[in-house]
Symmetry: C2
Subunit: 151 residues, 2 copies
DNA sequence: GTATGAAACTTTAAGCTTGAAGATTTTAGC
DNA sequence: GCTAAAATCTTCAAGCTTAAAGTTTCATAC
């Protein structure tokens, strides 16, 4: 294989390593400061951006995870009282999931801390580097979308 | 919070999304073409880079995952015949893990395909964008290392 | 040499994740 | 209306992941 393909491989490995490190730091912070997990946070973040709630299938679409996965996480969030399930009028298969007032309040605290953590971690990234990274990520995302749609 | 911190948050969310998409594509390819998983591939890649083998603790260090995690994955790779465990002379607690000849051959095939997949996915990333991304990732990694060491 | 603590590893409990199979309900074609 | 296909969701089996607790072995200090 060519040198350029080795470079791409190296870039991917660095990308992977950095992302995992950030995720790992967030995971630990969420656990220690809020006794919660990254998947729970992700679900609540999605619901927070959609105040009117999301159906299970919409949720798994937004988060890019499997259907069965969301079932379990929402189940636990309901037990915690952070989330509730409503019936969807006119479709007895579906259910809509929303944050409870309690869940909104809790998520607001978590989101603020989360933004602070990210701010610190990315503080040393220059605007130029951020710009380059954005472009690169776009190119990658586009490539994968195209392939997805081609299937 | 400031605009700049929102920008950083946005950058992180894009980074996360792109990484997950790539991982998801790799996972699917590995499953369909080699009936294996990403964690197994990661372990074999680490062992391939260290021909003389790695101790369990070294392996979990390199991969940045927990000890118990590696135990399970190696167990399954041993069952597959791709990996073997040797005794470490002079230390009856430790064991050294290595690829079998069979494992080396299998990994060679997987690695070649893997490089091709990455090559495609990252094809549209310009050298400038790649450069910017590298810098950004370095900055992030450094920040996290510093914090790690400060604890 | 013996106790104490550290190191290497495994086990366990809980939760996350996926793909596939199953149950129920809705939609569309006839 | 009836049937077949599709959609929505849950359940299941297998595997991944972590933190914490446990086991065995080694190193150190006395």
């Amino acid at each position: 294989m060519s040198t350029i393909s080795k470079d791409r491989l190296r870039l991917w490995l660095r990308l992977l390593k950095a992302t995992r490190s950030v995720e790992s730091a967030l995971r630990e912070n969420l656990r220690q400061e809020f006794q919660t997990t990254l998947p729970r946070f992700d679900v609540m973040a999605a619901l927070s951006r959609h105040g009117q709630g999301l159906k299970m299938s919409e949720l798994s679409n937004v988060l890019k995870v499997s259907n069965g996965n969301v079932t379990g996480i929402v189940e636990r969030l309901v037990e915690d009282g952070h989330v509730l399930r409503e019936k969807v009028p006119g479709d007895r298969r579906a259910s809509r999931v929303r944050l409870t007032p309690d869940g909104e309040a809790e998520f607001a605290r978590q989101a603020e801390a989360h933004e602070g953590w990210i701010d610190e971690i990315f503080a040393a990234v220059s605007p130029e580097a951020a710009q380059g990274m954005s472009e690169a990520l776009d190119a990658v995302a586009r490539q994968l979308e195209d392939k997805e749609n081609a299937q």
